[in-house]
């Protein structure tokens, strides 16, 4: 399974470059990378989905990330209970006569049509990787014009870890 890493970093210029430069230098491949600000404005969370790798390689990735002075915390979510979602926009061929079929098809995925043109519709779907890839596969025969994926973003499940416990452990790392 592709490792999923959650990395808390200082929210300041150049940090994304440091991380991507590290990956290039060390020859690590990533499948996706999302970055966004956290509850603390000084801290960003990067969610990295790595290409499949063995345990030793993953350990080296995590250690190299730790070495970065702007990296505050690295968590391997792969084996942990987590919630992980990505958002996908799919522009698909949809002549008027097919539109109800498309509607019926996306409905179980709780996807929405967010833009309608004469010959196409644009569908928005969120979910884990399996779900969005299933929908993409179903829509492909109708002719996907364009597709945009955000990549996975994730958090450990609060209900399992216990919110108090996590706050304490993060507090030790982040005096913010």
């Amino acid at each position: 399974m592709s490792p999923v890493l959650s990395v808390l970093v200082h929210n300041k210029p150049g940090v994304l470059h440091r991380i991507t430069a590290l990956f290039m230098r060390k020859g690590f491949n990533i499948q996706s990378l999302t970055v966004g600000i956290t509850e603390s404005p000084d801290v960003s969370r990067m969610t990295l989905v790595m290409s499949e790798m063995d345990e030793a390689a993953l350990e080296q990735v995590m250690k190299q990330l730790h070495k970065q002075i702007d990296v505050l915390k690295v968590t391997d979510l792969t084996e942990e209970p987590m919630v992980a979602r990505e958002l996908v926009l799919i522009q698909v061929n949809s002549p008027v006569q097919q539109r109800s079929i498309i509607h019926a098809l996306i409905e179980p995925f709780r996807a929405n049509i967010i833009d309608v043109a004469r010959d196409t519709v644009t569908i928005q779907v969120t979910g884990d990787t399996n779900k969005v890839e299933a929908l993409i596969a179903l829509l492909r025969p109708y002719g996907i014009r364009e597709l945009a994926r955000t990549g996975l973003t994730a958090l450990p499940r609060d209900s399992v870890l216990g919110s108090d416990a996590r706050r304490v452990s993060e507090g030790q790392v982040l005096p913010i």
Binding site: G14, H17, A56, Q60, H66, K67, Q68, L72
Partner: protein
């Protein structure tokens, strides 16, 4: 404010001295000078230019010595040489654009060999960053993969905090280079100056004290060991742990192998010293690394030039790896007992736990027999000078007490093999990056770090020509640096590999034309002499090393001499060739 001497130029804000509670307002450039004073920087290596004019204006007559090298690469290698012999960060200044890019090789060199450097670069003014302004280059982008950390300052008020962090990061944990990029206009901005706060770096907390449970595992493993060996790297030197290493090795009678960069950490004349290991290491050292059942790595990073083919490196050993950088542990060699921390702290803890001495006298005797039977060797024949004998003679005449600085290549390996380092911090060489051109400027820096020691720069005829403009520094200041050119008329190591692995096709490796090195030295005001035959070697070398002031000795040596023993690339350390004549 204590420690702040009289400003040498008009300050835009003069605060009366009674107002001690209010931080003093300083211009950015003056802050940098003040910070360097607080960090007790006694020498800076650098080269001025447009973007650092305000900084150089503040440096003018500020009391900190500035050594003007003749190229920024020379400045950073000098800073490395200084740092290596003093254990304190070397400081280098360069201007924006080409000044900054000329530091790149030195930054990469310092990164691979964990040398503490604070590099200050000028940058174009903030308002024109990103416009391809004159002498603009993104040194932050360029230097990110080859620095431990870097900063671009956006306002003068950040200067104290950034410099405090930079000196701390450069010289703690696994040491390394830190670059600070200062836009020209920042140097003129005025801001309050305080330098008391300790650095706040939540993402940088190096583990210094190892975990006691790991130490206990090491010691109980050692009690079971039959064939233990210590591999001591430069981590021993960075931690200043030579005494503990000696005490530990002697207590349990464990033989010691050094890496190239670790030389001097353990006395070379000690009975338990097996020599350098690796590609051009000794037969005894490599036998120990191959046959050991308990390898204690103290601050070495299992570099490929040491390990040879990984499958054959210590294949039957329990591997203990003590390293202050956790990312090194398990990177190349799977580790059984990882110990994250400072080598000195680890050795102190290992010395505080007593275990029954393992019975390994047979193993030690076997290794000592190999050490006696297969020392580093050369065959003296004919009139030509053998480079190995040249090194051995330098060692004899200096009694092993000189600060030896080398360039990169065959002469470097011969120096490592034939100069017996008995004490730490007297060996300066470019290991990881293998930077030709390192030797001469690094020797200048080493001299400033240890001005009372005899500094001998042993360089090849090719590498010397990469940075020979720094002769100007030696000539101008009449620095007592002794330059020995080991002249074999070739890029010797390249030539050796072409001979051994490329069918003797000497592609672009033979220097059939060379400058007159003696005239060159004299042009820079440096006395020079040349020796060509073995008969004159000892006498001339003694006279050369005894003369006061600078000197350059060109030594014409046997051009076909190769470095042996050798572990050929792609083979194991047990497959050495040339262990004896």
């Amino acid at each position: 404010m204590p420690g702040l001497s009289e400003p040498t130029q008009d300050m835009s804000n003069n605060i009366p001295s009674e107002a001690v509670t209010e931080p003093k307002l300083l211009k950015g450039a003056d802050m940098v000078v003040e910070v360097l004073r607080r960090e007790q920087v006694d020498v800076i290596f650098g080269y001025p230019g447009g973007a650092v004019l305000p900084l150089y204006d503040a440096l003018y007559q500020c009391g900190i010595r500035h050594v003007l090298t003749r190229h920024e690469q020379g400045a950073i290698h000098a800073a490395e040489g200084y740092a290596r012999v003093t254990g304190r960060p070397g400081v280098v200044i360069a201007t924006s654009g080409p000044g900054a890019t000329n530091l790149v090789t030195g930054l990469a060199d310092a990164m691979l060999d964990s040398i503490p450097i604070v590099a200050i670069t000028g940058q174009v003014a903030k308002s024109v960053i990103g416009t391809d302004a004159f002498q603009e280059t993104s040194i932050i982008g360029i230097s990110t993969p080859i620095t431990k950390h870097n900063y671009q300052i956006r306002h003068a008020s950040e200067i104290p905090k950034v410099f405090k962090e930079a000196f701390h990061i450069a010289n703690s944990g696994r040491k390394g280079p830190v670059l600070i990029d200062i836009p020209k206009d920042v140097a003129g901005e005025v801001a309050p100056f305080t330098y008391e706060d300790p650095p706040q770096l939540p993402g940088y907390q190096p583990t210094v004290a190892p975990h006691h449970l790991q130490i206990r595992k090491v010691m109980s493993g050692l009690a079971e060991a039959k064939r233990p060996v210590i591999l001591a790297g430069a981590g021993v030197l960075h931690a200043q742990a030579s005494e503990q290493l000696l005490a530990f090795a002697e207590r349990y009678r464990i033989p010691v192998v050094h890496t190239l960069l670790g030389l001097g950490g353990f006395p070379a004349n000690h009975e338990l010293f097996l020599g350098m290991g690796g590609m051009h290491g000794s037969a005894a050292a490599n036998k120990a690394l191959y046959e050991t059942d308990f390898l204690i790595n103290l601050g070495a990073r299992f570099d490929d030039r040491l390990t040879g083919k990984l499958d054959h490196f210590a294949p039957n050993a329990t591997i203990v790896h003590v390293d202050i950088d956790p990312a090194e542990i398990g990177k190349n060699i799977p580790t059984d007992i990882p110990v994250v921390g400072d080598v000195g702290e680890a050795l102190n803890m290992m010395l505080s736990v007593a275990v029954d001495k393992p019975d390994c006298s047979g193993w030690v005797e076997e290794l000592l027999a190999v050490k006696a039977e297969f020392p580093f060797w050369f065959v003296q024949e004919g009139e030509l000078i053998k480079p190995q004998r040249l090194i051995a003679e330098i060692a004899r005449i200096t009694d092993g007490e000189a600060v030896v600085v080398t360039d990169v290549g065959q002469h470097q390996m011969w120096a490592a093999q034939f100069y017996p380092f008995r004490a730490p911090d007297k060996w300066v060489t470019s290991g990881g990056l293998g930077t030709m051109g390192f030797g001469l400027p690094a020797a200048i820096g080493a001299h400033f770090g240890k001005p009372d020691a005899l500094t001998v720069a042993i360089v090849g005829d090719a590498g010397f020509q990469m940075t020979l403009q720094e002769l100007a520094v030696i000539g101008e200041m009449q620095l007592p640096v002794k330059i020995v050119i080991v002249n074999n008329g070739a890029l010797g190591m390249v030539r050796q590999w072409q001979e051994l692995f490329h069918g003797e096709r000497y592609s672009s490796s033979l220097l059939e034309w060379q400058p007159d090195f003696l005239l060159l030295a004299r042009a820079y005001g440096i006395p020079a002499m040349k020796i060509v035959s073995d008969a004159e070697l000892s006498g001339q070398l003694e006279a050369f090393l005894a003369a006061p002031g600078p000197g350059l000795l060109e030594c014409i040596v046997e051009p076909r001499e190769n470095v042996y023993p050798m572990v050929a690339p792609g083979t194991g350390i047990h497959q050495m060739v040339g262990v004896k004549p």
